[in-house]
């Protein structure tokens, strides 16, 4: 076994701020939307925390964006451009999670600092980071001060439409978080991926090629 450095420090900082922030956003979001069911915080406190943490996460997003735009590590998000190879690789990964993992087979993807995501992760994270997260943040900013951004709010079809988009993405990210929390336990050991996100290093088989 060898240790491979796959999570640079800025990425780890971004990730853990993001993780903590999202937990707070989901908790306060539930409190704001379901005041009749949950009353841990006052509505106003929940709204204020939700707003502030939202802005922290927007700043954190730019830390992530800046890091990948201005370093050569952006390759981790570049998909395989040959469709045939992409689908073959993706299918291999699906087969692993759907069957091979139960037989104790080795993960077909061997991460490096330049290619740390498997084909499914690349597709998923591109959609999340470049599409869903900006829409979530954008609608959040509009809802933070509806009057200030009334022109944009009206352009999008009104405050109810903007809120519905925000809530739909909240549902998507809540689902994503549950899946994410399970998938990170599917390393060689249950805690391997979590440790890697803390230390930056992941243990990879000697036999594996990048």
């Amino acid at each position: 076994m060898k240790k491979v450095y796959i999570h640079p420090l800025p990425v780890r900082i971004w990730h853990w701020i993001n993780a903590l922030g999202f937990l707070i956003l989901i908790a306060t979001g539930v409190q704001i939307r379901y005041l009749d069911l949950v009353q841990v915080l006052s509505f106003r406190t929940a709204v204020n925390i939700h707003n502030w943490v939202g802005f922290v996460l927007i700043a954190d997003f730019f830390l992530w964006l800046g890091y990948y735009l201005f370093t050569d590590k952006i390759t981790v998000y570049l998909p395989e451009m040959n469709p045939k190879k992409y689908f073959e690789d993706a299918w291999r990964q699906i087969k692993f999670y759907g069957y091979g993992i139960f037989l104790g087979e080795e993960n077909p993807h061997h991460p490096t600092i330049y290619h740390k995501f498997n084909p499914l992760q690349i597709m998923m994270y591109q959609i999340i980071m470049l599409l869903l997260l900006p829409i979530l943040f954008g609608t959040g900013i509009l809802l933070w001060d509806v009057e200030r951004f009334s022109f944009l709010v009206n352009l999008l079809g009104g405050v109810r439409v903007v809120d519905t988009i925000h809530v739909l993405l909240f549902i998507v990210f809540t689902g994503f978080l549950i899946m994410h929390l399970y998938l990170i336990t599917l390393g060689r050991t249950r805690s391997e991926h979590i440790k890697a996100m803390l230390t930056g290093y992941e243990e990879v088989s000697d036999k594996s090629s990048p």
Binding site: F43, N48, F102, L103, V159, R160, T164, G175
Partner: protein, 447 residues
């Protein structure tokens, strides 16, 4: 400190002078006013011993007595009787009976007389809801002299008891609420520093309070720092100011409701029905099949029909939270009692969202309303019609709640199924692992 005799008399003289300066002009004007010779002639009969009473054709009795004393103390003391009663014929007046249709018809005949001197105020009045009601044929809409007794009208600079406010003649219930609310109590205690009807409702240019945003602007005229003060503690305060009328929070005992105003799709101005084209009432009634308020589909169908008939003036809905009646709007409390608990509005089943009405301005300048089922506030399919109104929690779309539960349960099923499969494959996995280890060991020996 002691005063000499001279200083004392100087102080008293000074105080007396001040008193004369302060009270002089008012007293002077009243004392000095006198009737012209012609007016004296009029008052010989109209303030004489015999009580002059005229019977109208409608059977009412109209007293023709004018108190000279009250007239001379009035704002009109420098006008002559014939300035307003210009059509009187000296030769026949009092000798030949002139028929009078009714008191109201007689009062209305004097509208033009007021215009002679009060052009600006009459012009304002002509744009008011009162004048619109009048032109719409109302027999209750006030004319000038319904509010202003031209023979006793005092200078507006003088403070009259609040009970003398003419608005109370028609708006009795609202006046009763006003005298008990924070403004009415302050007016009685502090005089002109506190508002009375016309201070908020604009004298003469009165518009229906439930339409437009004139009343909110009136509040902000005195409470200039209200926006800044709310911004300190109220998230999204700009939106709250836009979508909620002030009494919703500042009249804590009031009943509240959602008002869906029909506004122009371009520009957002409140739509007003044309005179003689009663679309609103007819179309809402036609759409409201069960007469129990418009359902989601009925509201959509009404708007579709309305917009088909008004292609150049299409309507969209602009929702706002407001109190249910004019009486409620005049139950304003002290600031410390105003509602500040977000829970009152921002949770499912909140009281203000249990009543919903659709509103359009009528041809007489007053609001026309039709009930709407409260379910439109939580319906996904009403998103198009209700797009401009949303209160977190209380008007949340139920379908999204079901979707959240479905997604969470669905996603939880994945690890549950995966872990189960992992457990079921345990035997086979360990067997394969043993085989792999044996193969590795064999390969090691060969190596």
């Amino acid at each position: 400190m002691s005063f000499s005799g001279f200083q004392k008399s100087l102080l008293i003289s000074g105080l007396l002078f001040l008193l004369v300066v302060l009270c002089g002009p008012v007293a002077h004007a009243a004392d000095d006013a006198s009737l012209s010779e012609d007016d004296v002639a009029c008052q010989t009969c109209h303030d004489g011993k015999d009580q002059l009473v005229k019977k109208t054709e409608a059977g009412e009795s109209l007293s023709l007595m004018i108190s000279t004393k009250a007239f001379l103390a009035s704002r009109h003391n420098d006008t002559s009787c014939t300035d307003c009663h210009e059509d009187l014929d000296e030769k026949t007046h009092g000798k030949v009976k002139v028929p009078m249709e009714s008191k109201r018809a007689y009062r209305m005949s004097f509208q033009d007389s007021c215009t002679t001197c009060h052009k600006k105020n009459v012009a304002k009045y002509k744009d008011s809801v009162h004048a619109m009601m009048l032109s719409d044929g109302s027999d209750k809409a006030p004319t000038c002299s319904d509010c202003h007794n031209s023979h006793t009208q005092l200078d507006i600079k003088l403070l009259e008891p609040i009970a003398d406010v003419p608005c109370a003649n028609c708006h009795k219930d609202i006046y009763k609420a006003y005298v008990k609310d924070v403004h009415g109590l302050a007016r009685a205690a502090k005089g002109k520093s506190a508002p009375i009807c016309a201070d908020c409702h604009q004298p003469h240019a009165i518009q229906a309070a439930s339409l437009g945003s004139g009343i909110k602007d009136s509040c902000l005229t005195c409470h200039k720092d209200a926006a800044a003060k709310h911004e300190v503690w109220l998230p999204n305060s700009g939106r709250h100011f836009e979508a909620i009328s002030c009494p919703v929070c500042h009249a804590p005992d009031a009943q509240r409701r959602v008002n869906l105003r029909m506004v122009n799709a371009v520009g957002g101005r409140q739509l007003m029905e044309k005179n003689g084209v009663p679309q609103f009432e007819q179309m809402t009634k036609a759409a409201d099949g069960k007469d129990a308020g418009l359902s989601v589909a009925e509201l959509r169908s009404f708007l579709k029909e309305f917009n088909l008939e008004n292609v150049d003036n299409k309507a969209i809905l602009s929702g706002r939270l407001e109190v249910r009646s004019g009486v409620n709007a005049h139950q304003l409390s002290e600031k410390s009692k105003a509602l500040k608990d977000c829970k009152i509005c921002h949770q499912a089943g909140a009281a203000p969202f249990q009543s919903v009405v659709l509103t359009m301005a009528g041809p007489d300048g007053r609001a026309m309303r039709h009930g709407v089922e409260k379910e439109v506030l939580n319906s996904f399919t009403a998103m198009g019609t209700m797009r401009g109104f949303y209160a977190i929690g209380s008007t949340r779309i139920k379908l999204l709640d079901y979707l959240l539960v479905l997604v969470v349960l669905g996603v939880l099923c994945v690890p549950a199924a995966h872990l189960t499969a992992n457990y079921l494959f345990k035997g086979r996995r360990e067997k394969l692992k043993a085989q792999r280890q044996a193969a590795d060991a064999a390969a090691g020996k060969r190596g």
